[in-house]
Amino acid sequence: MGALTVRDTQFFRRWMAAAADVVRREAARLTELDSPIGDADHGSNLLRGFTAVESALASEPPATPGALLQLTGRTLISTVGGASGPLYGTLFRRAGKELGEAAEVSDEQLRAALQVGVDAVAQLGGAAPGDKTMLDALLPGVAALATSYRAAADAAEQGALATVPMQARKGRASYLGERSIGHQDPGATSSALLLGALADAAGEGS
């Protein structure tokens, strides 16, 4: 990751466009994953949310990366509902706040901001690593941002796959007890997709 690269608002706009694209493509699969251990709505939840984010970013274009992430977060909170709405909403809102009003941010600033966002998710949801939630993709993913966007996407993807053998302790899947084992967590999967979209925006797509 070039230490001198800076990311402008346009970069964040590309990220969210890629995020909306991948959510559109993968919505059915996310809902399918949410079916055996959840309530079969994760894909449609995110589809609704990121479609709304697209319109919001188009109709009131934010001037800075921080404003863009905050608007993204607020929009997700206002349109997604469920568990993932407040969680993803908080992730982006807190990361956006962290970025402040700078017109451009460094990769390191972005990494640090996302780390604050992920910590806020952990705080809000009360989940720990290994609980079979989105955190199991977000934590390794954001940690690997120190290496590269591609590494972050791959680490998140690995983290999502690693949820398969876990027994859920948070969210709906936890109601199933041992029967939650053997299924991939939908939220961890969508987190990996979102970090994949970030890699795409950075030109580090797979």
Binding site: G38, D39, A40, D41, A83, G85, R172, R179
Partner: protein, 332 residues
């Protein structure tokens, strides 16, 4: 499915509710169903909401003596905070608002955010968390017991108290008491089909059933070979009575809800109720009041749940108080 499209299911249903119930204030766009006489009523407002797909819960319980407003989310998806705040505003009669929140991660977080926002708007908000489902152990290893059938008891009894003009702290305390005194257990004879997925949420072969289900089409804790209604009553009632034993004397009267999950014919549900009533009588439990029907449903799931609430005289009196909503009506 009898729908136009998965995306419009909730808006379409609200449009239909508006057409069917002119006495209700149905905001289709902003997804709030409210009593028309809430503003400046001088009464505590009672607000609930959650994912759609559990009808008549909650919108069907808006009216005299029960909810002041409801905010239906997408199917099986908690409503968003904005919606909850609008419902709070519609329900606010000057004496604050009680949020009735079923214990699901999404509902809890969204209502929490809404409570903050409504507070900033100058509306005093209390919350009661409903968590009656004994199929889930309330421990560090789960998201805690789910809110299911007891929601109806909480909404009815707190609604009666609000209607009597009691202040927010008392209404909230009563609501919490009802929840603490209530326990439920549910059984699925089939999965359900969400509009978004379009196929059953899990595979349940004929001749098998799921014990300990929630109300979101998720499988239960355990799969078993099909049983008779009597046997299902036994396995369902067992854990409910066991947990209730910690709460009060075995022979204290109870309110009983024998609830259909949506696609169980009333013929079968009444038969099931007969078995439940007999078992309770055998064990010396007095049923003060019983309600049988499809009230807290899971779309087109076949199955049933039992909710018991240990009810002292005051709770029974408030249960008996007049209620006039789309789905629950008596008295007056």
């Amino acid at each position: 499915m009898l729908i136009n499209s998965p995306e419009t299911v909730v808006a379409d249903a609200l449009r239909g509710m508006a057409a069917a119930h002119p006495d209700l204030d149905v905001d289709v766009e902003r997804r709030v169903v409210a009593r028309r006489d809430a503003r400046d009523s001088g009464r505590v407002g009672l607000v609930s909401g959650g994912g759609s797909g559990h009808e008549p819960l909650h919108a069907g319980f808006v009216g005299h003596g029960m909810l002041t407003a409801a905010c239906p989310g997408e199917v099986f998806t908690s409503p968003v905070p904005d919606q909850m705040v609008r419902a709070a505003a519609a329900a606010h009669g000057g004496q604050g608002v009680l949020f009735v929140v079923k214990n699901y991660t999404g509902d809890v977080m969204n209502f929490e955010m809404a409570a903050e926002l409504a507070g900033e708007d100058g509306i005093q908000v209390e919350q009661v968390l409903v968590n009656d489902d004994v199929a889930v152990t309330d421990s560090l290893y789960t998201a805690g017991r789910r809110g299911t059938g007891a929601t109806l008891f909480v909404e009815k009894i707190a609604g009666a108290a609000a209607e009597e003009g009691r202040p927010l702290d008392q209404v909230a305390a009563l609501a919490r008491k009802v929840n603490e005194c209530s326990r439920s257990f549910g059984v699925a004879l089939s999965a359900c089909t969400t509009p978004a997925k379009g196929s059953p949420t899990f595979e349940l072969p004929d001749g098998e059933l799921e014990l300990g289900i929630g109300i979101h089409g998720e499988p239960g804790r355990e799969r078993r070979a099909m049983m008779t209604a009597k046997e299902i009553a036994e396995v369902s009632l067992g854990p409910v009575l066991e947990e209730l034993a910690d709460i009060g004397p075995v022979d204290a009267p109870v309110l009983l809800l024998v609830n259909g999950m949506g696609a169980t014919p009333l013929l079968e549900l009444y038969g099931f109720h007969g078995e439940v009533a007999r078992l309770l009588a055998d064990r010396g439990v007095t049923v003060a009041r019983a309600l049988v029907g499809n009230y807290v449903t899971s779309l087109d799931m076949a199955g049933c749940s039992i909710t018991l609430c240990r009810a002292d005289e005051e709770l029974v009196r408030l249960w008996d108080a007049p209620v006039q909503t789309a789905a629950l009506r008596w008295g007056r």
